[in-house]
Point group: D2
Chain length 96, copies 4
């Protein structure tokens, strides 16, 4: 699959489906908060499986029950369809 | 904490709180079914954290989205409070 | 990728690369033993990522530091290249 | 177990055992680099089990095969024995 950078219009069209995410420059980001480390890390394990399958990995920082995620596509120096695909999966898995 | 084998009356008193679990001999068991391997393994990761913290580990078998769990307490050759504690956590984490 | 069942000759040709594995009927199996549950589950997490990426999942049973694995390819009712690929990755990841 | 802040002398006495770690103010930090995301996340899963058992959790950031770790003990506003215990386990698990 060819990956290409999304244009600003394409990005804006996708943001309403991700109301908890912020868009800034070449990345989108969200802070997730869970009931405890146990829930946070279980979620990270599910997300890791999805990320490896998509061959698209997050930049994420975990402190106890919180996970801060940033998504970008280095190969295109911008945002691609994969970032929005992974973000949607992250949201879905966080809903349980 | 001293671990002791629960008597049959004590076991019967605890089973109603675990309606999906079966009791047979020295063990309780449940079959969990998830939406996919991604959800199943995320749940296993959360459970693994709880198990390690309790120092009480399941016998479990995973095939894709299904996980079959058996709990027993080898040290007492029977069921102990820890089995019911871990079973309750497994149920709670499976509800998401 | 088309998946097909390997013939007996093809299976025999692949077994020497997996000296710890046994072949029986439509499956290959191996028992892994780790230093503790912590090491066992870390390995399972790595393997889970590989399995999800290959879209080929093990039948595995974990009890504390031991993991019993069986691999087969249901779609072909036998063994396919994927079983040998996943087995080789499991071995590699267990060597650390 | 009572947790207390280690004094500067106590910290300096422990640093030689952690040659890859840096000490700055109230924290110690190390950058881990693995062969791939698969190895990095397997290691994180093992570490997560240890952290939950110690009830002491890292601040960590993962990007593909790299994990940046910072350890501190919020309760004592400094470094405690637990930070050095967790750091040593992280090193041990990274050696495989």
């Amino acid at each position: 699959m060819v990956i290409r950078a999304l244009g600003e219009d394409e990005i804006q069209a996708r943001m309403p489906a991700l109301p908890e995410w912020k868009h800034q420059g070449d990345r989108i980001s969200r802070h997730f908060r869970f009931a405890s480390f146990v829930e946070a890390f279980g979620w990270m394990s599910s997300v890791a499986l999805v990320a490896e399958k998509l061959d698209h990995h997050p930049e994420w920082r975990n402190v106890y029950s919180r996970v801060e995620v940033e998504l970008t596509t280095h190969d295109v120096e911008g945002l691609s369809e994969r970032d929005f695909e992974l973000a949607a999966e992250m949201d879905r898995l966080a809903r349980g």
